[in-house]
């Protein structure tokens, strides 16, 4: 892209185990404090509590009436809260919302409601399957709820490819802005730590998560599962109303291993 096509981050909306909003995130980073909570899993050998960074989405009620949230699952609530925080942070006028593009990146999608849908017909038969759960289980449900809530009628995209989801989706956000498809993109990364994902994570590890994460410590694993949403309101430089910084590159690629064996997944 040319210099005139630089992309500006106009607003940031974040929610996660550190709290809610950019001030909470700044505080957590400055104080180097992380206080994981607990996720209780049912396993074949009884319930197991594991350390986990959980997000509190209660502040969503500042933006959307409780009644309107009744049929919206946790995955989409994370997305809705992150997007509203980013819009508020940027101070974007309401009149600009219909022209927003939306791009969501998610490693695992709406796993909680997908599992709930499955449970809805497991005991009582296929005829009892929940249509509400099924409708919310699509990967683009968060993008859809954001679009409906904001009245955003620009293009909408959801990308899901595990850890590569964010850089891949960000590359498309930059492309949309460079092409002039939209003046602004609401970009968000969303993942929930559902019971199902927590259990799968538990099964893929030999040990329960550590009480404290120590990044880059290679001789032992200390990762703690987490959930949250991070949203960036992106704008072309010419249209931006100020902002944090520019986003100058996002690329993905592969180390080609033609016909190579499938690597054993070491995800989650």
């Amino acid at each position: 892209m040319s210099g005139t096509d630089r992309i500006v981050i106009e607003g940031i909306g974040v929610v996660g185990g550190f709290g809610c909003g950019i001030s909470d995130l700044s505080r957590a980073l400055n104080e180097s404090v992380g206080r994981p909570g607990t996720l209780t899993l049912s396993t074949g050998s009884g319930t197991v509590p594991i350390s986990a960074f959980r997000a509190d989405v209660s502040r969503l009620e500042e933006f959307i009436p409780v009644r309107a949230l009744r049929r919206i699952d946790r995955f989409s609530r994370l997305g809705l809260l992150g997007s509203h925080l980013a819009l508020t942070d940027a101070g974007l006028p309401e009149a600009e919302r219909p022209r927003l593009g939306i791009i969501i990146a998610s490693g695992y999608g709406a796993s909680g409601i997908t599992y709930a849908f499955l449970k809805s017909f497991t005991h009582d038969g296929d005829i009892c399957a929940s249509p509400t759960y099924f409708a919310n289980s699509v990967h683009n449900s968060a993008a859809a709820h954001i679009s409906i809530e904001l009245g955003a009628m620009g293009p909408s995209l959801t990308v899901s490819q595990f850890h590569l989801s964010v850089p891949s989706a960000l590359a498309t956000a930059r492309l949309w802005l460079a092409e002039g498809r939209v003046q602004r993109v609401m970009f968000g990364a969303v993942d929930e730590l559902s019971e199902l994902i927590g259990y799968i994570r538990h099964r893929t590890r030999d040990a329960a998560p550590a009480a404290t994460m120590i990044p880059l410590r290679t001789e032992m694993e200390t990762s703690i599962p987490a959930e949250g949403a991070a949203f960036l309101l992106l704008a072309r430089e010419g249209a931006a109303r100020g902002g944090y910084c520019t986003l100058d590159a996002s690329t993905t690629g592969s180390l080609p291993i033609p016909g190579g064996p499938f690597p054993e997944p070491g995800l989650l």
């Binding site: 939306i102 859809a144 990308v159």
Partner: protein
């Protein structure tokens, strides 16, 4: 923005055409593109209750399954479909591994099931308090469709798995075209893949939008969709790269547009504003006038809502242009639908014919136009392929005859 107002903020110029140099497909109509086209033009369709899974639902809804296809045990059926279609497309493009390795090749795949972290046997075991075998989860983790294709062909360019429900693969094709125009890659393998399984089947029944008889897109007596499965892939290249590598250009990807309804999670916006915006952007970027469109391969699921909204938009924006749905031959293949219909559209442009809209018999007074009722010659150069999706996504591509 007022209700029903068409979003006209996109002031875009037409974009460079992208060469389509190879196509591949697998679906209920056939194991490859030529076989599928022959079956469709013969008017064949064989929806039937699944032979791959059972349900205790009292009604056995017909589906369109890809017959005689077995996936390897270490891959999701979805990704196996994607590989099958990609191998056909790459061979059709005349590309070998050595040439692919010398180019920057991206891969962009649309899907719904191929990115979902749930597997019924595993979840039932967990729910029952057992310690379920992790093999199904490991299969999911190694089966992300774009990753699988990148690994299989040793591709080093950008890769993306698009999950915008039923518009996923139309979006994947449009995005891959943008990558090439932006110089992010020389060539892209783009398309979509989805398998049909119990969870999807039961989910659509729960929404009460499935037909218990063969689907009837745009017909007065339509009751809903029939689900299907399959994949289609296109090899895309810039014209200079196509020439340099000796690839034959079968047709062109000329334009792409997409827009949201901002209306409902599963129902299309009644005024069709999102679809109108998507068509408008696709035509603008392709530099094609509405009058010069030869035909439209519509989304046409056979649900009352979709067909009503879509036909009204077509009547307003492309009046008199022949349109049809090919879902009567394939079922609704969800994340694969856009790509399957894109390769059908390109093949029809090559042939100069479009098939009949299977299942249509009785005009609906609520629908202002009627789809193509028999095999019909088309003489134009351009065609549209449309996808509408849960979440209010609307995506349209414009294809051109080579």
């Amino acid at each position: 923005m007022k209700h029903g107002e068409v979003l006209c903020t996109i002031q875009r110029m037409s974009v460079a055409p992208i060469a389509i140099t190879g196509m591949g497909c697998i679906c209920a109509a056939g194991r490859n593109l030529p076989e599928s086209m022959e079956a469709i033009f013969r008017g064949e369709r064989h929806p039937a209750p699944s032979v791959r899974f059972t349900s205790n639902h009292p009604v056995r809804y017909p589906v369109f399954e890809a017959a005689d296809f077995e996936e390897p045990p270490d891959l999701l059926r979805t990704s196996a479909f994607a590989l099958h279609a990609a191998r056909e497309a790459v061979a059709d493009a005349g590309l070998d591994r050595k040439t692919l390795g010398a180019l920057r090749v991206g891969v962009c795949v649309g899907t719904t099931v191929g990115a979902v972290m749930s597997e019924e046997t595993f979840c039932r075991g967990y729910l029952a308090g057992d310690v379920p075998d992790m093999a199904p989860i490991r299969r999911i983790l190694r089966s992300n469709p774009a990753d699988v294709l990148a690994r299989e062909f040793g591709l080093s360019g950008p890769r993306q798995t698009v999950v915008t429900a039923c518009s996923s693969s139309t979006d994947a094709v449009g995005i891959a075209g943008s990558w090439i125009r932006a110089g992010l890659c020389d060539v892209a393998i783009a398309g979509g893949a989805d398998e049909l399984g119990r969870i999807t089947y039961i989910g659509f029944i729960s929404l009460m939008i499935t037909d218990d008889s063969p689907c009837k897109p745009f017909d007065k007596n339509r009751k809903g969709l029939n689900l299907g499965e399959g994949a289609a892939m296109l090899v895309l290249a810039s014209e200079p790269v196509a020439r340099r590598t000796g690839m034959r250009t079968r047709s062109f990807l000329l334009g792409y547009g997409s827009a949201g309804d901002a209306y409902h999670l599963t129902a299309p916006r009644p005024d069709g504003a999102g679809l109108r915006n998507a068509i408008s952007e696709a035509l603008t970027t392709s530099g094609v006038s509405s009058a010069s469109v030869a035909f439209v391969n519509a989304h046409g699921t056979g649900t009352p809502d979709n067909d009503r909204v879509e036909s009204r938009v077509l009547n307003d924006m492309l009046p008199g242009i022949p349109f049809l749905s090919t879902k009567g031959y394939t079922g609704h293949t969800l994340g694969a639908a856009g790509a399957i219909e894109a390769v059908f559209t390109a093949a029809c442009l090559e042939m100069g014919n479009v098939p009949a809209n299977a299942g249509f018999e009785t005009p609906d007074p609520e629908i202002p136009n009627t789809p193509v009722r028999e095999v019909t010659a088309v003489s134009g150069t351009f065609a549209l392929s449309e996808s509408l999706a849960f979440g209010g996504n609307n995506s349209v591509i414009v294809l051109g005859k080579a």
